[in-house]
Amino acid sequence: MNEIQELYQQVILDHNKNPRNFGKIAPATNEAEGYNPLCGDRIDITANIENNIIKELKFNGSGCAISKSSASIMTTLVVGKTIEEAKELFDEFHKIVTAGIRDRVDTLEIGKMAVFAGVREFPSRVKCASLAWHTMINAIEKKQEKEINMN
């Protein structure tokens, strides 16, 4: 497999075509909007968190194959997890897309994230792969980005 084939492997193309947990939860206990200024993509994360556990989490918006498939896989990984576990998964994911380093390769979650290891060869695409994850963290921590408000 060359670098470009590794980046656009079948799992990624599949999640791009048929994203899991795509849509919006209303009402939601937590939500955040993520934004990638490089490509203009926006992503909405909505979630229901009860007793520190992510009961439900969905994403909405447009994005490239890398960001969409990453969002899709992220949702399948964090639903059912505690907030702390979701943050730990994010740390692992970040390592994979920036350095390809995997501390533990023995879990199902890490195995699923590993399809994004090819992203590290494309520095401009790391943001695409991480956008949904960052937005998920903002949603569960209830943080939001600032905008100029002209109204």
Binding site: I4, L7, Y8, G63, C64, A65, I148, M150
Partner: protein
Amino acid sequence: MNKLDIDKIRNDFPTLSEVVNNKPLVYLDNAATTQKPRAVIEAIENYYRHYNSNIHRGVHALSQKSTEAYENSREKIRQFINAQKIEEIIFTRGATEALNLIVSSYGRQFLKAGDEVLISNMEHHANIVPWQLLAQEKDLKLRVIPINDNGELILEDFDKMLNEKTKIVSLVHISNTLGTINPIQYVINKAKEIGAITIIDAAQSIQHKVIDVQKLDCDFLVFSGHKLYGPTGTGILYGKYDLLDKMPPYQSGGDMIKSVSFERTLFNDLPHKFEAGTPHIAGNIALGYAIDYIQSITLEAIDEYENYLLDYATNKLSEIDELKIIGTAKNKASVVSFVINNVHPHDIGTLLDADGIAVRTGHHCTEPIMKRFGIPATSRASFSFYNTIDEINVLYNSILKIIKIFK
């Protein structure tokens, strides 16, 4: 269509023979920045190797030489856009800084609450955000001329929007995203009838079209050097002398003063009043060489050949059913923005890059255009006179391959 010796021209640009991902570079991102001819690269090297020195103050030989080269470059630019006076040519870091200068200096001094600033739906963010910030500060009204589905200004709406409160009309000449060439002469004439100040963003037109600021009779015109085959970090603000003269300084410090004491400071004359600090001397000198290079080919020949490339690319890409061109104005420059069904522009960009093709993907710093067309982003191929029909064919074939991957 062989008035230009393309092989010879391509030889003048060292970057064009680079290999990217084991493929010959196909550089189609000229609206973002153009490659530099050897004459420009050598002018920079020559300055640093042989006469590196500060300008406007030394009495020694090198300083006199650099000052002369610097001011010669200013004169070349004056002639290039046919400004009346050399003092009307201000060196800036680029079109963005030039616009910020106008907004901060003219805008802050002369606009007041309730005044209206008119821009268009196809402005670059650099001609939106500075006005937004000033509008917040001074309670101005920012109004936007709409565009139609082809990406053309709706002039009937523009006519109606003009009123006695309109103090500024600031318009892009050629859209970096859509390629639309705006009827700036019409807009300037109309704006002048009601006494508004006219500003033209020529960042995407200066490298394609002959610009004559006296004929246009605009009050200000800005462009960047790096899109004109010159160095990055260079740009020009043209302004009418009387306006520039009554404007307060933008930045302050060295070179922009006549005398300084702790009690009072006397500002320098134009153009130095707006050029605080040591500028990009090498870059601004080299910009003059870029203009020499363009004039050796002539803008008329450049425009004709680029139109030929545009027509070929438009026809070729239109053959692809899954592809849609965004920006179909009647009057267009050599920019082709497009979207492909079910393939995000960012993926297109990465996959084209794997074939050595450089295009820009994203919103091109024109998010309101994306919103107008209901899309998040486009891929944009923008052509220069050093591009070829063969390169457009490479782009076409690579796009077909991408569509296959995502089927």
